[in-house]
């Protein structure tokens, strides 16, 4: 079990036994960077974070899985290419087929495409530079397990930080994604990396598997997030627009009978 020390005053965390009973697994690979941040985001949203190690073959009865950002196996072959073959990923693929909510953030999104849980792939940013910025996104589909706490067409500001963030897929796949409402997030206010059709995040056909390139887990805590928010004026570092991603999955699991 991963202990996730909370540094600040987390009065934002709801005291709700039903939420706290939801177990959200966060996978750590060699080279993962944002696992603790994702675990803290789950805790701040009111749920229970469970640390999962890539080499194990047991999902520890979690109700949902987050594959966090970083550089799994150094991304030396291709982003996410080696992580896909980790023993735990087989279990994730099976669980995803059974409807378990799975979220891949940044490198996690890349791993989900390499694992064929999501279509397309990620290549180097079109400007060849590492991007790091507070990014405005639009929630294009607020009916997934990971986005139901957002209003329709809601905006959100979360950090974007990547080298291989350009989403690519063939035109047929892109048309399918658009036609089936599977473009979950789109970049707003400019395309930061040349992603096809401004796509920042997508889902699988069933809607339980979602990948997105920017980092909602870095925008959950007042004082440590972006300097702006899509929900009105905030103080420096006080953007917490990403928190609803984690509230969404807790809410949908509680509503689905998990207690």
């Amino acid at each position: 079990m991963l202990s996730t020390p909370l540094i600040g005053d987390f009065s934002v965390a709801p005291e709700n036994d039903a939420l706290r009973a939801v177990r959200v697994g966060v996978i750590t690979f060699p080279g993962t960077l944002d696992d603790r941040d994702a675990a803290r985001a789950v805790t701040i949203a009111g749920g229970t974070a469970v640390g999962l190690w890539h080499a194990e073959a047991n999902l520890q009865s979690v109700d949902a899985v987050i594959i966090p950002g970083g550089f799994s196996y150094g991304d030396y072959l291709r982003a996410g290419a080696i992580a896909r073959f980790a023993p735990l990923m087989e279990k994730v693929v099976d669980a995803a087929a059974g409807g378990m909510p799975v979220l891949g953030i940044c490198n996690g999104f890349q791993i989900l495409t390499e694992a064929h849980l999501l279509p397309g792939s990620m290549i180097k940013n079109n400007h060849l530079k590492f991007s790091c910025a507070d990014q405005l996104l639009r929630v294009e589909n607020n009916t997934t397990a990971w986005t139901n706490a957002y209003e329709a067409e809601a905006g959100m500001v979360v950090p974007l930080k990547n080298q291989d963030g350009q989403y690519v897929a063939d035109e047929k796949t892109l048309d399918e994604l658009e036609g089936e409402g599977r473009v979950v997030f789109r970049y707003d206010g400019g395309n930061p990396n040349g992603s096809r059709r401004g796509i920042a995040g997508i889902s699988n056909a069933a809607g339980n598997v979602v990948g997105l390139m920017p980092h909602p887990e870095h925008a959950v805590e007042p004082g440590f997030g972006p300097d702006s928010s899509a929900y009105g004026e905030v103080g420096l570092g006080y953007g917490t627009d990403g928190l609803r991603i984690f509230s969404s999955v807790l809410n949908s699991l509680v509503a689905g009978g998990k207690s």
Binding site: N126, Q166, G194
Partner: protein
């Protein structure tokens, strides 16, 4: 020891930002004879002993499943380079 060489190239329709950056640099060095650059990857798989048909088949499988991502890349060569 013999080696099996696997070449992987970005698909023609996929923008190759690295190749594009190199293509932009060449004219600055006065090398103006090229209309484009594509950057791929070369893998060398070393074999202890002979390259049997089974080993070559394993190399093809590795090329298709691990060494390349068919969404963005093509395997353009799987070939045995004998010992010098």
């Amino acid at each position: 020891m013999p080696r099996i060489v696997v070449d992987v190239m970005p698909k023609p329709e996929i923008l190759d930002p690295q190749g594009k950056a190199i293509a932009g640099a060449l004219p600055r060095l006065g090398l103006t004879g090229f209309t484009g650059v594509r950057q791929g990857k070369r893998f060398e798989l070393t074999v202890d002993g002979d390259v049997t048909p089974e080993v070559l088949e394993q190399a093809r499988t590795a090329a298709a499943t691990v060494l390349s991502n068919p969404v963005i890349e093509d395997v353009t060569r799987v070939e045995v380079i004998p010992e010098a």
